[in-house]
Amino acid sequence: MNKINNQWETVIGLEIHVQLSTNSKLFSGASTNFGALPNTQACNVDLAMPGVLPVLNEEVLKMAVKLGIALNARINSPTSFARKNYFYPDSPKGYQISQMDSPIVEGGHLDIELEDGSIKRIGVTRAHLEEDAGKSLHEDFEGQSGIDLNRAGTPLIEIVSEPEISSASEAVAYLKSIHSIIRYLNISDGNMAEGSMRCDANVSVRKRGEGELGTRTETKNVNSFRFVEKAINYEVNRQINVLESGGRITQETRLYDSQANTTRPMRSKEFANDYRYFPEPDLLPVILEKGFIDSIKKEMPELPEEKKNRFTQDYKLSEYDSGLLSADKDLADFFEEAVKISNSSKLTANWIMGEFLAELNKDNLPISDSKVSAKQLGTLISRIEDSTISGKIAKDVFEKMWESSKGPDQIIAEQGLEQVTDDKEIESMIDEVIKNNPEQLQQYQSGKDRLFGFFVGQVMKASQGKANPKQVNDILKSKLEK
């Protein structure tokens, strides 16, 4: 039962953890690769051996500054680290190195497009660097828990939004926009299934028109766009139900159960840890020189919003097509590479959003693993444009390209699919058709105009679909008029 209605207003803030795609960890030289055997990628620093010290991986500074610029935010200099104290076996030091007072990125915003096409600006409070924890493995050991510290120390940037998101669908739009940006900036693979991007949602509801915010809950670790939408909707309905039946919302952390599509309490904030933050004495505050920030500004890639506008202008695509093609950087790059060869932006856009994405989805492949390259697709489309083949035959060729990984020209040549454009050849085919259908000829000449289509069909059939349709039309018309 959907309780989201005019009486209630929803207030959402998102905390998004993004794993930065560095080669080594935030404070150690150990590798960050996903999927290695447990504890094979944990060095003395990651294991929190006595006496070890953290050394900042400077690659992350560049990545964080890029994100800050993309989010129209302030870059804090100096930016400093703090210890967040809590005991858990997957946190080997007993504290996490994070940022508190001067996060590297602060006070930005992001414009998202709503379903009705309007634009809404969402404030970004801050984005700070911190290290990831290891993993506890509860299933594999009878009566014991295993600890895998491979992930411990992997760099994360936590992006905290203002509580300015008003619905689950806005939350998804915001999340998708962040996802698109981090992929564009090449600072994370954004893979939610592998946990490279994780989302916690702070949700509260209040009576419409009320000034004060309602009590919020935090729903943790929702690991797909779809689940974010479902979890928030569930939580909003739950809170409205509680309030409408006279109850009160408990401030707590909840966990989303995707199988049951419910959220349940994890731990109550009232008994929550006091994290006892204090400045990390092992790391000096980091000064980010203006020159450093300026050099990153110069290296900034075109961002999704800019690319969308450029596509609309330069390629004369519709807003919708531009938006769809630019949302994913790989897709946008594929499009631009294909257009370079095809010289037809509209036809290329249609092919990519149609046949190309359909094949990718069918095989469940990322663009990087596509069986047809952008150059090959561009060539295929140029063969339609230069009348080598018809659009209909192109579809068959494309399927063969996908299956065989052969180029379009090779397939066209091998299968003899080249369009017949020679006037004489078409004429002789037409003569043959007219000769073999004297009855239809007579009916046509006595005024039965619609038989023209019959003749076209016969000629195309005779050419096995390869005759140029326009030429067939023109020559047929002049012959039949005689």
Partner: protein, 484 residues
């Protein structure tokens, strides 16, 4: 000639001109350790076999005429420095079974310069203490009088050098843990500028205050040790990337005209006459050497002790969280669940002084108290540091007693932590300001040594060693040896 009575520098000369071998020298120390250390308890681990191996290798290098900087000199490392494959306990039951998987930068540097490691020295548990009575491995005795404490936390390092069970020893100083034992055992001890010596592999007590240094018989020896120990380390982000001078050359520089400051607040402190008199005598020596004196003021010095006892426990409360029984070290028997594992491991693995400081530090960082304690202490720390900045505008070094008294009897102050904490009243300010300090013997009372402290400006270790060296050239206090 007893080889153990030679200073490190004399031993190095003897090795160079083949008067004796490193094996002979090492055997002398190992024999003395076997004979004497049962009553002193200065070593937690003696690495006899590897010491002899290292000595043999060293002798080969001398034979090949390719000796390293400190080749063949037998020293001991405080058991706070991680040493690969050797027990590294930090004086605690918590690490009583811990063999480090790597060596600290300090240990590696000495190894690379040819040192022979005799073993690892006893210390207050996690460097928390001023009498070496909090060690899980039992108290260390002062070689000058076995009923007395050697000071702490580097009590084992001080006692072993003083008893001539090692030529020199590494040590660490968070609030006075090198200088106070140096004073109480009649040694020269230097705590360098914060960041001069790498902290990598040095088990952390209070990260913003901890600094490694040395305990030796003379300033000349300290200079030799500092040449090896100092320098930038990319594995320690707080280590200073500044060139290291040759301290053996620095000590030969001229002392005349050295401006020495006398902080009036220090001398207003309650202290016994014998300390006051010994300090006055030392001032006379320096006047004769051509130094100039000036009274200076440290209006905020009274904040030092309270500031220290907020900040050091706060940092230690986090630094010691890693000892949880999960990955290494002590683990309680048959834990019922995770909480039981944490609670009993830490209750059984830590001693009372460590627990006291973890509790104080946790409290000072707690929500609602952070501003009143931790943040205020940080601001006061800045005030203390500013006093030094002001003072160094007009003086080169600051002179004071190292401790408010000579050594005290084992057990005498253990029931009163505040009384114990006052041991470090003259030494703590230098740690708060990150400045170098040195202590060396300047007298005796009842056959117990008295120490003199000099504090210098940032990176002025050379000046401190020079001033101590000049003093030792005209006095004999540093030549006194305990009767064993």
């Amino acid at each position: 000639m007893n080889l153990d009575e030679l200073t490190l520098k004399e031993q190095l000369n003897g090795l160079k001109d083949s008067s004796f071998s490193s094996v002979e020298l090492t055997e002398v120390y190992l024999k003395r350790i076997n004979q004497l250390d049962a009553s002193i308890n200065s070593y937690i681990t003696v690495t006899e076999d590897s010491a002899l191996e290292q000595a043999k290798e060293s002798d080969k290098r001398y034979k090949r005429n390719e000796p390293l900087l400190l080749d063949g000199i037998p020293i001991a490392h405080k058991d706070i420095f991680c040493t690969e494959d050797v027990l590294t306990t930090c004086g605690s039951k918590m690490l009583s079974n811990f063999k480090a998987p790597y060596s600290s930068t300090v240990v590696s540097k000495f190894k690379n310069d040819g040192i022979v490691m005799l073993g690892k020295t006893n210390m207050d548990e996690f460097a928390m203490g001023s009498s070496n009575e909090t060690s899980y491995f039992g108290p260390v005795k002062n070689p000058w009088n076995l009923e007395y404490v050697p000071g702490g936390s580097s009590g084992g390092s001080a006692a072993c050098v003083s008893a001539r069970l090692a030529s020199a020893a590494t040590a660490t100083d968070t609030g006075g843990s090198i200088r106070q034992p140096a004073a109480l055992c009649g040694l020269t001890g230097i705590k360098p500028t914060y960041g001069r010596v790498s902290r990598y592999g040095m088990i952390a007590f209070a990260s913003s205050l901890d600094q490694g240094g040395v305990l030796t018989r003379t300033a000349e020896d300290a200079a030799l040790m500092m040449n090896t120990m100092s320098g930038h380390d990319h594995r320690d982000s707080t280590s200073l990337n500044v060139e290291v001078p040759d301290y053996s050359k620095a000590i030969e520089e001229d002392i005349s005209g050295l401006r020495i400051g006398l902080p009036k607040e220090f001398f207003e402190q309650d202290m016994p006459d014998y300390i006051r008199n010994a300090t006055e005598d030392a001032i006379k020596v320096y006047k004769d050497l051509g130094a100039e004196f000036q009274e200076i003021s440290f209006p905020n010095i009274g904040l030092s002790l309270p500031v220290y006892y907020v900040l050091a426990p706060a940092e230690c409360s986090a630094n010691l969280s890693r000892y949880d029984g999960v990955r290494y070290g002590y683990r309680c028997e048959n834990p019922k669940n995770l909480e039981d594992l944490y609670m009993r491991t830490r209750d059984e693995g830590f001693g009372p002084e460590v627990k006291r400081r973890i509790l104080i530090g946790t409290y000072a960082l707690s929500a609602g108290y952070y501003d009143a304690y931790y943040l205020k202490a940080q601001k006061c720390r800045r005030l203390v540091a500013n006093d030094f900045t002001e003072a160094f505008k007009s003086v080169d070094v600051i002179l004071s007693p190292t401790t408010p008294g000579t050594s005290f009897k084992t057990g005498e102050k253990t029931s009163d932590p505040i009384e114990m904490y006052l041991q470090d009243i003259f030494t703590i300010p230098a740690n708060l300001a990150g400045l170098p300090g040195i202590s060396f013997p300047c007298g005796q009372n009842n056959n117990l040594p008295i120490g003199l402290q000099l504090v210098g400006n940032s990176l002025q270790e050379g000046k401190l060693l020079m001033a101590a060296h000049k003093f030792q050239q005209v006095t004999d206090w540093h030549k006194e040896m305990p009767n064993l």
